[in-house]
């Protein structure tokens, strides 16, 4: 997390990032939690907040639903090259939203407080960078960019134009994930050395296409032109959480994948696997398949003292059996006999864990959109800022690069 005062003073992000690793992790984490709590808290300011949306497709409309839960927010303009989206958006909003066939016309408007970019991944940079350059604050969907160069340009444009940029890594705003990660950072499960993440589904990942000519537009996730496949669309959230928990970005990536079930002309794989290396030999492993949903969407954080399971709705701790402890010499008291039985062995633990209790377990996207409006109104640096977006983009892009190259590739440093 980048220190807010450093951001305001305009110091370089690299300086801010270096303080992150040198400072006391505990102090950082409690400060980060206080900052996060302020951003996520129920909105007090109800003044008008005018939003423009580039790409009001299915995800764009879902974001709009969340933004409309923030006091004062009104969607005033939208841009899309697929006209049916405008009528859908009007219905989602319950009023007429000005429509633009060209996103530049939307960016030329002077009545916007912020712009949402929810276009296909391959177009993110083309929309986000001009938006920042024309003076708009931006909520940009993940993955932040299609290439590392584009991701770096977004980071630089955010700094150069002193704009607020928040990336759609909404799990950073999930109360139970924040609470659980804070406890991990305080050592609750020892040193976390491995994170295993799954996002499995059982469907073909296709949207209905009214006309075959629209296939690549509507099912863009299935084609390389704009998509980095399952690593980007699903894995980026998990890779972001790994960066957050490990406190750094990965150093190298191994990737693989195949088309194993859906031989329907798609170009992106219907199952992928990635292994990311972090400093000190730590590993993150991601796997996604689309023909079996048993594992669903979840992460497991493994430390020497226990494990943490994170899902879309909750977080649960599990603890390892107690280890040898050094104690003062025995005082000569007799041992009381008892019968005991431990089924440990090599069998997996199948009992219950200890759930993380939070009082405000709201939808992460609802919290993230509210936090973005707060950040724009108060000129506060978001929790999921461009550097967070850059870190996750690095992991996604290099996992995919390794998959194509069929060998381990280096991951450039964070910025």
């Amino acid at each position: 997390m980048i220190d807010r005062r450093l951001f305001v003073r305009g110091l370089s992000a690299a300086v801010a990032a270096s303080t992150l690793v040198t400072d006391s992790a505990l102090a950082q984490s409690s400060k980060a939690e206080a900052d996060a709590a302020r951003q996520i808290a129920p909105a007090v300011d109800k003044s008008p907040f005018r939003l423009g949306v580039i790409g009001p497709g299915s995800r764009g409309q879902e974001l709009v639903r969340s933004f409309l839960r923030v006091p004062g927010v009104k969607v005033v303009a939208a841009a899309d090259i697929y006209p049916p989206r405008f009528a859908q958006l009007n219905q989602t909003c319950g009023y007429e939203v000005a429509s633009h066939a060209d996103f530049r016309a939307l960016l030329d408007r002077k009545d916007l407080d912020a712009v949402v970019v929810a276009t296909p991944l391959g177009l993110h940079a083309q929309h986000v960078i001009p938006a920042l350059e024309s003076g708009h604050h931006v909520y940009g969907e993940k993955t932040m960019a299609y290439t590392i160069e584009d991701a770096a340009k977004i980071v630089n444009a955010t700094t150069a134009h002193k704009r607020i940029f928040q990336v759609g890594h909404q799990y950073r705003y999930s109360p139970w994930i924040r609470a659980a990660v804070a406890r991990v950072q305080q050592g609750e499960i020892g040193d976390v050395t491995h994170i295993l993440a799954y996002w499995n589904r059982n469907n073909n990942w296709r949207r209905p296409v009214p006309d075959p000519s629209l296939e690549r537009l509507i099912n863009w996730r299935l084609y390389n032109q704009w998509s980095l496949g399952l690593f980007a669309e699903l894995g980026s959230h998990h890779m972001d959480i790994a960066n957050w928990v490990f406190g750094s970005t990965p150093t190298s990536a191994i990737g693989s994948g195949s088309i194993c079930t859906y031989h329907d002309g798609r170009e992106t794989d219907d199952n992928v696997q990635a292994v990311l290396s972090y400093s000190g030999g730590r590993r993150f492993i991601f796997t996604s398949m689309t023909n079996n949903a048993k594992m669903g969407d979840q992460l497991w954080l493994y430390g020497s003292k226990g494990s943490l399971n994170l899902t879309l709705e909750d977080a649960t701790f599990f603890y390892e059996p107690h280890r040898i402890v050094k104690t003062p010499a025995k005082d000569g008291k007799a041992v009381v006999t008892s019968a005991s039985y431990s089924p440990a062995g090599e069998m997996p633990y199948r009992g219950p864990g200890k759930p993380v209790q939070v009082t405000t377990a709201e939808d992460p996207t609802t919290a993230a959109t509210r936090a973005f409006v707060y950040c724009v109104r108060t000129k506060t640096e978001p929790i999921a800022d461009a550097h967070v977006g850059y870190g996750s983009a690095l992991a996604v892009i290099q996992s995919n690069h390794a998959r194509l190259k069929k060998q381990e590739v280096e991951v450039p440093a964070s910025i």
Partner: protein
């Protein structure tokens, strides 16, 4: 979750019993309704169009099992339509579930007592419609009864009878009149200044069915049947070659018998009954449908069925007419000619007899059960 889903083409007619797979305490399903799908009846149209094939899929959501029957040209279309429909149901469950703290409805329940909560147009519309039915029914319908269900043990899978003192203590925690809606700002506030428990159980499934119907129609579906646990049904178009989708309404006076067989077309049907979710204490059956005004389970009502073009409304109304006295239901529905109701109630005079009330209903469903002889009446 897709875990429970199965997609299979159907070449033969099938007879299904709905509302069987239920989870105690979470089951909103109230009554099994038998549906005879005439899938084998292919269209004999002379127009050169691919013959429609029948597909069927089930999906666990909202504490019940949703099923969809589709007549579409091919399996690929069926898979896409089914995915869209069930994704929509899951989206609405995530929006409205009172079992999920992450839902928008739970957020409102938690926060609207402290300060006005701005919500999205869809959730606001859901609340607006819920409060509308509370107002129109003079409180017979009320989504704020969550604490009552809890006090009577319906959340813990075992019934209990709360003391009057316990119920009195709940008076301030429930009541639709505490829910203030401001359409200008789309804000919800609880005027009793405390957290409440909004429970979508008597309207949410209908709301989901309406959304699915709209979505399927937008995607060109002309023949489909959607069932939310058998308690809320919607028929899009007809079974090819027939006048509608056949639905049998059981006769609660004679187990196993059918009160009336109807054909449903472009309209919804919802049922309320206590035959599946109840508890028995000291020989008395306590129903999970409450009269919010007495804070006690409804007594003496056997089964209600409501037909209305909106599944949201038929779902809510099947509870309204379950809670109201049949004469009050008749007065309420007098101004709603497009809404039909069929009500079976234990007779006051003789507990072993039941009264049957049909309001705006086509045909004579209250007469002796012999539907086969009379043929199925079309309701559209």
């Amino acid at each position: 979750m897709e875990t429970y889903s199965q997609l299979r083409p159907k070449g033969e007619g099938l007879k299904q019993k709905y509302g069987e797979v239920t989870e105690p305490g979470k089951n909103f399903a109230r009554q099994g309704i038998k549906i005879l799908s005439l899938a084998a009846v292919c269209s004999l149209s002379l127009v050169a169009q691919p013959p429609l094939q029948h597909f069927h899929q089930t999906h666990a959501a909202m504490g019940t099992i949703f099923t969809i029957d589709l007549n579409v040209p091919d399996q690929a279309t069926a898979e896409q339509d089914m995915d869209l429909a069930f994704e929509e149901i899951d989206r609405l469950e995530a929006l409205l579930s009172n079992y999920r703290p992450t839902s928008e409805l739970s957020r409102i329940s938690r926060e609207a007592g402290s300060a006005p909560v701005v919500t999205d147009p869809e959730t606001f519309h859901f609340l607006d419609r819920s409060i509308y039915w509370s107002r129109v029914s003079n409180g017979a319908f009320d989504i704020t009864v969550g604490p009552l269900l809890r006090a009577w043990g319906f959340f813990f899978h075992q019934g209990r009878i709360p003391s009057q003192a316990e119920l009195n203590a709940l008076r301030d925690k429930i009541g639709w009149r505490h829910v203030a809606l401001d359409p200008e700002t789309r804000t919800v506030s609880f005027t009793n200044h405390q957290a409440m428990e909004l429970d979508p159980g008597s309207i949410g499934k209908g709301f989901a069915v309406d959304s699915v119907v709209k979505l399927l129609r937008e995607h060109g579906v002309t023949s489909a049947f959607i069932s939310a646990g058998g308690s809320t049904l919607y028929a899009i178009g007809t079974v090819p070659g027939a006048a509608g989708w056949p639905v049998d309404i059981p006769d609660p006076r004679a187990p196993g018998k059918i009160a009336t067989s109807i054909l449903l077309k472009d309209t919804s049907l919802s049922t309320g009954a206590c035959t599946e979710k109840f508890f028995i204490k000291n020989g008395h059956r306590y129903c999970h449908i409450f009269d919010p005004r007495t804070m006690r389970p409804v007594e003496g009502m056997l089964q209600t069925t409501v037909i209305d073009p909106s599944a949201t409304d038929s779902d809510a109304l099947s509870t309204v007419v379950f809670v109201l006295d049949p004469s009050a239901s008749r007065r309420l529905l007098a101004s709603m000619p497009g809404t039909k109701a069929l009500i079976f109630r234990q007779s006051n005079q003789s507990p072993s007899h039941a009264s049957c009330t049909a309001i705006n209903w086509t045909g004579n469903p209250c007469e002796a059960s012999s539907p086969a002889a009379k043929g199925s009446q079309l309701h559209d």
